[in-house]
Symmetry: C3
Subunit: 207 residues, 3 copies
């Protein structure tokens, strides 16, 4: 099993957990849990595959991804009530999923021979669009755009580190590992310690 | 004209009626009616065709589908005021459209030679995504996710019945007919008699 | 540089300005600005390219489009506070972007040899879907559907004029220029002078 497959399965599983937790907040039934979990889990990779016109969308080629997402959904359906704060669990699981989905997206784009700009975008798209679909469909404020937190910027930095690592060291699994680490650290640091970039603030016009 | 074409045209027409009714609640003009009606009518099949990478999206290959949706939109524009309850009309028409769209999606996936998991998903995607886009774009609570009703579960059961029928009887139009019947009965029963699956409820932690 | 490329770059740049202005209302950071600006700028053309199954989505084939959108995002990040009314700026820039995106969509569909219905739809899709994604993701009321204003109808009329011009004069750049002019005039007239089509109004049933 390749590094890329491991990343794909991991991001599917963890994103599915977050999707199912959001489904629990909307009080859906088990089929609804599986639906939202799958949408979240494969949404980003699906957009990536459609944009890159891959021969087959990854989960159409290999249905085990959906089985993985369904297992996560069932798990959450029967255990979510044990959690103290679902909101906090969603945030941290989402951070973990982001940190594996970004290198998964980067890896696919590199494998298909794309240049750095497309690689960068595909890392961000794979990381962000699953959660974005989850939140838009379930009418939650998109986590991706939560004001003042590092999310897209964490994904951006992670993908950039992967590209730079490859540029310096050549093809190496360390590029994807560094990408995951940087993405997670920035996202986690933003949640735990309030790290942030300056946000736009409307200022009064200078006199 | 094949069974699949009939299902496709029917689901396009009925989904377009629901889209136009939602447009009437948003007080759009005639072009807005046609737009939302078309989005609803071909949305699910479009996502299916893009995911399965068909040679051509069905309504690009054959523009009569869009003509059908436009006729439905015009019809609703001039007659919606005769309805006593648009909400109720939307719910029941949507149930009818779902019941023809699910077998249409199943049929396409089977024709392209996909395995049972992908067939199941394509039935649900074709049935659910048109209505989902309609509701997300028009900012309505998605009917697909309405709490405690059978919707995705009805689509799931219908698609499953089609797969089992084919597994037992071999290729037969009865698979699609059974799929439509099961989907409609479950959805209608849920609306009329309150049939439902247990939904997730947060319970107090056991002591 | 072809007329089509000029239209594409122009629509990307202007739509990106509107996306960044919406991002400023949501108080995002610079990466968020670039993300929303890019989504708005390439959203419509991406849907068009995926629906028409072009060899490559236009911005994957040529990353300068994303660079253009990023420049627009940075520009807005540092200057938006100088505007008196961001809402008004968004409306007028969006009208300009619509007026170049519709002919861009029409031009691509004509080049690929599609018939009039598909050409018409692709004009509207290219014009409308970028702004639609921007507003759905940022939870704004979709400008595309703003009640009682010409938007989709302006795009429709513009695309229709392009098709008729081509039918009469044969291949000519004037088709795209007329398309842009008609789209902009109708949209601008609707905003400035309240031009509109009759909208649906529920009337009391006749006695």
């Amino acid at each position: 099993m390749s590094v890329l497959s491991v990343l794909d399965y991991l991001s599917v599983f963890i994103f599915a957990l977050t999707g199912a937790l959001v489904a629990s907040r909307a009080q859906l039934d088990l089929v609804g849990f599986v639906f939202i979990a799958s949408l979240t889990a494969v949404g980003g990779g699906t957009v990536r595959d459609v944009l890159l016109d891959r021969d087959m969308v990854f989960w159409v080629a290999n249905p085990w991804y959906l089985a993985t997402a369904s297992v996560a959904a069932v798990l959450v359906f029967f255990t979510a009530h044990l959690l103290e704060s679902r909101r906090r669990a969603i945030d941290w699981l989402d951070a973990g999923a982001l940190a594996v989905a970004v290198p998964a997206g980067v890896g696919v784009a590199v494998t298909l021979g794309h240049g750095p700009v497309v690689v960068l975008i595909m890392g961000m798209v794979t990381g962000a669009f699953g959660g974005l679909m989850r939140d838009v469909v379930c009418n939650e404020v998109p986590l991706v755009l939560r004001q003042g937190e590092l999310y897209l910027s964490a994904a951006f930095a992670g993908a950039l580190v992967a590209i730079l690592t490859r540029a310096v060291l050549g093809p190496t699994p360390w590029a994807l590992i560094a990408c995951a680490a940087v993405t997670f650290l920035l996202r986690a640091g933003s949640m735990a310690f309030g790290w942030r970039l300056p946000v736009y603030k409307s200022r009064p016009p200078r006199s």
